[in-house]
Every structure is written in C-alpha cells, then in structure tokens.
Symmetry: C2
Subunit: 130 residues, 2 copies
C-alpha cells in the first residue's frame, strides 16, 4: 500500500468510525471494524481503553439521542487523522470540535485527543467558526 493509499484508507476508516459512534451511536460495529485494543483516551471526561469509549457512547445514547455531528474538514498525515467537526447536541448547544486520531499499521484507531468549544451566540467577525 502506498503512502497516499494509506492516508486515504485512514481517512475513510476514521470518517466511518466517527459516524458509527457519534451519529449512529453503534459502539459494537465501530469496535468490531475500527477500534484497536489500546484506544488510549485523552478526552478528560472519558475513561481509558475501548471500554471507556463504550461507556461514553452509552452516555450519548441516554442523554443526547438526537445529537448529530458533521465533519467539515478532514486531514491526514503519517499515522494521524484530524477532523474539524460541527457538533449539534441540540439547537441551543452547538460546538466546534477538533478530533485527532492515531492509527496503527492495519488502520485501527489506537489513540484519541480532542478539543471542544461551545459556539458562542455572537461573533466579532462574519465568518462562522467553520
């Protein structure tokens, strides 16, 4: 597999994984297809390992069943894939998120970081957060 093919495979894996967990809230399929055994977690509200992610998706299902996220931009370099995301938990609670994932050689997701900011009601410029 060329470097370019690997970057494209990694982007595809992360986009499908993200839709599965965040929009479909289907942890089991995401785990079977895309999650590596370590899944090192850096989001301070989520526990470590795949089990921590599973618990978080249960929390989403119970508290934000209609939450939707849209990937606005996707980047890849080396083993990393970066998403710039518009998260809508409710019309009143919208957030800008950047997700960073590190994948292993087989394209499984092994590590995750994110940064999350509530989109404010007003802005000093007319350009939106995206």
């Amino acid at each position: 597999m060329s470097t370019k093919e690997q970057l494209e495979r990694n982007k595809k894996n992360v986009a499908e994984f993200y839709d599965l967990i965040i929009n479909k809230k289907d942890y089991d399929t995401a785990n079977k297809l895309y999650i590596g055994p370590r899944y090192k977690q850096h989001n301070p509200l989520v526990k470590d390992y795949p089990e921590g992610l599973k618990e978080f998706i249960e929390f989403l299902k119970n508290n934000y069943p209609d939450a939707r996220s849209e990937i606005i931009r996707i980047f890849a370099e080396g083993d990393y894939v970066i998403l710039h995301v518009h998260s809508v938990r409710s019309p009143e609670e919208q957030r800008a998120i950047v997700e960073i994932f590190r994948l292993d050689e087989e394209g499984r997701i092994d590590e995750h970081w994110d940064v999350i900011q509530k989109i404010p009601a007003t802005s000093a410029n007319p350009n939106s957060m995206f």
Copy 2:
C-alpha cells in the same frame, strides 16, 4: 517546489508565525513575513483581516504578557497546517488548542480557525490532554 517541500515550508512558516505572535507578541514582524492580505478570521472573539489579529496581539500584550504556548504536534496537508497547542496563560489558566491555518501558494497565511478548551483540574484517565 515539490509537494513535500511545500508542506515543510508551510509548517515552518506557521510555527515561526505562531511563535512570533503568541510568544514574542511581535505582530509587525509576523505581518511582514507571514500574514497574507486577507487573513480571514474564524475565532469568534477576534475581528476579521490582519488588523483584527493586530488588535488581538495588543490585547495579549496588555493582559497576558507572560502567556506562553508550546506546539505539541504539527500536521500539514494541501494548503492547510494544523497545530495542537498547550497554552499557558498562567499556572491556573491552561488550555488545549487546535489551530488550523490555510496558506496561499507563496506560503502566506490567509485564513485561521481554532478550537479552545480549558484543561480541567481532574481527568477520567491518566493520559493528559496531549
């Protein structure tokens, strides 16, 4: 210039630009060397165009003269450079930031997005936000 050379030049430009504005708080040098004429701003607290950034750097100088930021990770794809940053405004006010920049063909910075999150005092995992 090859694609690889362009990505490396863009990373170098953004890293130097970021150190100039955020750590050295030297807008004039950053503007002369790296800022394109449009500099479209997506941070909702900062005004549009290079003049908006200039005003923000003045704000930093006056309110957070000792603030320091460290680039933990840097990625590049196409015209984009992405920084994962640890920002320390004071020992009590530390933040995780992802900065996204779009550069023009000459390597000048034309557009900026960011997502900013305060680092909480405690975490559900032992891995830090970086």
